[in-house]
Amino acid sequence: MIHASLALARRALRVTARRPQFIAPLLVFPSLLLAVNSGGLSQARNLPGFPPVQSFFDFQLAAAMSQSLLLGGVATGIAVALEIELGFFDRLVTAPIPRLSIVMGRLLAAAAIALFQLSWFVLLGLIFGNGISDGIPGLLIVYGIGSIAGIGFAGIGLTLALRAGNASSVQAIFPLVFVVLFLSSAFFPENLLSWPANIIAQYNPLSYIANGMRAPIIGYGGAEAVLEGFGAALGMAVLFAGLATHALHRRLRAG
């Protein structure tokens, strides 16, 4: 099972690397938005109630990471949906491997890609911001929460792909990505969001994931934010990995 999962994970990574047009949007769009948000609203940190930050860019970094990871989840879903459409998925199913490794392989690959995505934004933070305030331990926290969240988001994409079986259905949820982001505290502190976003954000796991990654970057929020971040990320990973597994079994039963 582990052997098959790792083999499939390696294959997924190889294929992703050979399609740069696949990965570019996951980095380019969030980076552009990061530039525009921080360049346009830098004075927002002067608002009463805004956490103490050295720059608005540092605050936005976690938002860009969250956005990138979410888009990565959708991209994983699209890739799997394409494999189903083109018949490669059938090839995997008929191979003498544990069926669960089909899901596990993709999720492992998603974790690895998430590390790559996070590294990109850490680099941007070093160049254009003030780096990670909490140093190496902070960096490990960012990678930890981010990669686990990446698994969760990939699970969402996988679930959709396995249920719908076609790429255009998965692609259709792109606008939803932004709805989820806007209804969270990814881009702005929860206490400064307008109604009803401020209420919804309290129940949105993405808020805790973003806050958890942000805490070590800006050096504010403390252990509580980090623990909540890990909790939300783990919860999502377990839930959506489970749903993806269930969707796989349903698909295999349907034939």
Partner: protein
């Protein structure tokens, strides 16, 4: 006379997609609407900052950005459709017609201009629903006409990319073009509040002047000083992008 008929026929064909596949128009409407409402929900409180004096509704400030994004999505969709036509051989059929290349381009681009009025209408209605004051007929006419020019520009950009890469996989590049053009402006805040690097970019970005023109009525009133630079910038951009698009079409097959 013949050229007008050809343009009409190509526009009709392009609009066919929306009529016969109603869902086709949804992404181009949904995305800018989500953005407009989302930005308002997230950043709405920034209007209390000093730089926003005289502006008490953030949604009124970002609605014009949404209008331009709608034009951008429409133009990108036009480019993707052309890439699909190239992949499937339909574009060869158009090239075989005894019609000049610029006329073919006008047919492609004119459909984008018209199509852009759909997200424009929806966004204005949503804005009014969420409390944006009615900008006035003149402001709306100016905004709509500028949006049509911007949609033509982004359609030209989509055409350039489609002819270069001849594949629908170039769609992200089409989208990034309009994304950058629209957002690297005084989109989120008045130009005086922008970070120096963004202020410089916005000052040099022709779309920023178009945005100012579209913003009239939603923020402040319509003035000649804000109107003429908007049209000059819009048509200037159209001229440049149109030139390269026509050149791309002429070079096809060489």
């Amino acid at each position: 006379m013949k050229n007008r008929a050809v343009i009409r026929a190509l526009v009709r064909r392009a609009l066919n997609e929306i009529i016969r596949v109603p869902g086709a128009a949804v992404p181009g409407v949904l995305a800018p609407t989500v953005f407009m409402l989302g930005l308002t929900a997230v950043f709405g409180q920034v209007t209390s900052l000093p730089g926003f004096s005289g502006i008490d509704q953030y949604i009124a400030f970002v609605l014009p950005v949404g209008l331009l994004q709608g034009a951008g999505f429409t133009g990108a969709a036009t480019g993707v459709n052309l890439a699909r036509d190239i992949e499937q051989g339909w574009f060869d059929r158009m090239l075989l017609a005894p019609v000049s290349r610029p006329i073919l381009l006008v047919g492609i681009v004119a459909s984008a201009s018209l199509r852009a009025l759909i997200p424009t209408t929806v966004l204005v209605l949503v804005g009014l629903l969420f409390g944006v004051k009615f900008p006035g007929v003149l402001a709306l006419v100016i905004a709509a006409s500028l949006i049509m020019v911007v949609a033509a520009c982004t359609a030209c950009w989509g055409t350039i990319v489609a002819l270069k890469f001849r594949s629908q996989q170039s769609a992200p590049l089409m989208q990034i073009g309009s994304f950058v053009a629209v957002l690297f402006t005084a989109a989120y805040a008045p130009i005086g509040m922008l970070q120096p690097w963004l202020k410089t970019v916005a000052t040099l970005n022709p779309v920023n002047y178009v945005l100012t023109g579209v913003r009239q009525g939603f923020i402040g009133s319509v003035t000649w000083a804000d109107t003429w630079p908007a049209y000059l910038a819009g048509f200037g951009l159209l001229l440049v992008l149109g030139f390269f698009a026509v050149r791309g079409m002429r070079r096809t097959g060489q």
